[in-house]
């Protein structure tokens, strides 16, 4: 093994260890929350059928709330989480936790109503009415209602009927739900009562979650935007509905932009300033320039009409782990489809490879949608890399290649020698990436060598 190769392996191992540490925070913090209840004598409730609803109610509430706070942190775009897992993976987990957290909190509510009603020997309905008369509990009922609304509007079937703006506005009320629910946690029951260690621990979780959101979603983007003062330098049409925008700014290296990163860009121009859009960097960023390539059916026209050289740009980012930092070995293949070629273009430019170590594959429905391909070919050839391009409609449903090639039996193994020993960077439409990943896996490529990024925001 060469020194260079062992460096890649060492850095990959360090990353995996850091990731495992970070991931284990989730189960361990959840256990700590439950342990506070057990230390308070709560475990006994599980030995007595009469106290079972109480035990279940408290434990589900603790787990649910702990995971709710984890969800908040996952959506806060914390740089450490982003650079380990990527924003898309963090959001994936955030989405996966949504329903379980709701169910846990519903169980919490139901079990404690049952417990409370049985203790005063009344029916559930009058117990609920009594509870609604207690301010902190009334607020927690409201919090529950808001959470149900948030989860329902995020179900795929419902979400597709809502505009992104409406959904997003509803989703922001999570913070309202978070704080409506907080009071009863400290006033009902003794677990987090005044003078307990648990009270401080539990409060600190809220401070961490709220702090991450305020810090990394508001303060840091604002500070960076002001500090680097980006303005549009020029706009170039790359193909149908697609433009490249070069922006000029101060001391951009300090923001940490790298090839493969994306950011949410907010053009301070009419009709555009209200929304930030996620676009990938499409050239290796320098200290004073960063370029993005944009293809968005509605937005590109708006951008063409409204963005002019001199337009100021605010940004949230850079985000993502679709960068050289996740590399595990010396040989690299960069594979992009359509507008997915934008980050591939940037990576082709910046990737540190020796002659023969780089393969770039461009894929599109038509020649004119092989965006930035001329630049990619020039950059790859300068590094003595190999370039393949494929155009035409997709072949078999399961193939990432056009019809002719898939019929001829072209696969990753026919293009790349010893395919399992290569790092793959994939960017393109989801279904296409799924087919490509399947091809890579059947060629024996281990999953840790496959780096792909979904567009997620």
């Amino acid at each position: 093994m060469t020194t260079r190769q062992s460096q890649f392996v060492r850095s990959a191992k360090r990353r995996w260890t850091a990731k495992d540490f970070a991931e284990s925070i989730i189960p361990i913090s959840t256990a700590v929350a439950v342990a506070f209840f057990f230390v308070d004598g709560g475990a006994k409730n599980f030995l007595d059928i009469a106290n079972l609803p109480y035990g279940i109610g408290v434990v589900s509430g603790l787990i649910g709330t702990n995971l709710f706070l984890v969800m908040m942190v996952l959506a806060a775009r914390v740089p450490a989480i982003d650079s380990l897992f990527g924003h898309d993976r963090a959001l994936d987990l955030h989405k996966k936790l949504g329903k379980p957290v709701l169910y846990l909190l519903l169980v919490h509510m139901a079990a404690l109503i049952v417990d409370s009603a049985s203790r005063v020997n009344t029916d559930l309905w009058s117990e609920i009415v009594t509870m609604l008369g207690v301010n902190d509990l009334l607020l927690s009922f409201l919090s529950m209602a808001v959470m149900v609304l948030i989860v329902v509007t995020s179900l795929v079937a419902v979400k597709k009927h809502l505009s992104h703006g409406v959904w997003h506005t509803i989703h922001w009320t999570s913070y309202v739900a978070m704080y409506l629910g907080i009071f009863h946690q400290f006033t009902q029951g003794t677990l987090f009562a005044e003078g307990t260690v648990g009270r401080w621990y539990w409060l600190s979780l809220y401070v961490v979650a709220t702090g991450s959101i305020v810090m990394f979603r508001v303060v840091l983007p604002l500070l960076r935007s002001m500090r680097h003062s980006l303005v549009v330098e020029n706009i170039v049409v790359e193909g149908p509905g697609t433009v490249s925008i070069t922006m000029r700014g101060r001391n951009l290296s300090a923001a940490g932009f790298r090839a493969g990163h994306f950011a949410h860009w907010r053009f301070l121009a009419p009709k555009l300033w209200t929304e930030a859009h996620p676009f990938s960097v499409s050239a290796a960023p320098t200290n004073d320039r960063v370029r993005i390539t944009v293809r968005e059916l509605g937005d590109s026209t708006k951008i063409l009409q409204n963005v002019r050289p001199g337009t100021a740009v605010w940004f949230e980012g850079p985000y993502g782990v679709f960068t050289e930092s996740v590399r595990t070995t010396s040989r690299v293949a960069l594979i992009g489809s359509g507008i997915g070629l934008a980050p591939i273009r940037a990576l082709t430019e910046s990737m540190d490879v020796n002659p023969g170590e780089l393969t770039v594959i461009g894929r599109a429905r038509s020649e004119e949608e092989l965006f930035l391909m001329d630049e990619i070919i020039r950059l790859a050839h300068a590094k003595q890399g190999t370039v393949y391009t494929f155009t035409g409609p997709r072949g078999r449903r399961t193939s990432w290649l056009p019809w002719d090639e898939s019929e001829r039996g072209v696969t990753i193994s026919t293009m790349i020698d010893r395919p399992a020993e290569v790092d793959y960077y994939l960017c393109g439409p989801e279904a296409w990436m799924d087919s490509l990943v399947a091809d890579l896996r059947s060629a024996g490529v281990p999953s840790h060598r496959i780096h792909n990024e979904q567009f997620a925001w």
């Binding site: 495992d20 540490f21 189960p27 700590v32 342990a35 057990f38 230390v39 308070d40």
Partner: protein, 166 residues
Amino acid sequence: MRPTSAFISGMATMGVLAGGIVIGTGILDGTTTDQNAASNSGSNSSGGSPSGGSNSSSSGGSTSGGSSASTVKDGTFDGPVVQTRYGPMQVEVVIKGGKIESATTLQHPGGDGTSDQINAQVVPILTKATVDYQSVKFGNVSRATISTESYKQSAQAALDKAGYTG
């Protein structure tokens, strides 16, 4: 997560839970917590038990800062009726020789004939703790926050009447 890491974090998770159970049930020191705990004296170090003075009392009544202890009147003093969502709570304290001789509840939630396990268990704990600690500055009783709070509020007001500041 790699298998080894998953194993380690799984063990850590179980360890935290097991630790909580061990401390909470007092398996190791042979004491019990939960509702019986308040009746024990301060030797019980397990979580959830009231520990004299260490918990700040959040009773509604004033905690009588400043007044001299020499003005304590002997006699029987009734606190006000404190309404809770489960019913009224009223405490009577007997002061003798400047000390709390006894405490009883004149009314307590669920005490009107309806069977109420919790209060039946909790009230003796609270009255005994009041005498043991010679104040209501003990911690809350698990699962009976509302009863504890209302008890303390009524009892503290009764103690204030007596000019008791201990």
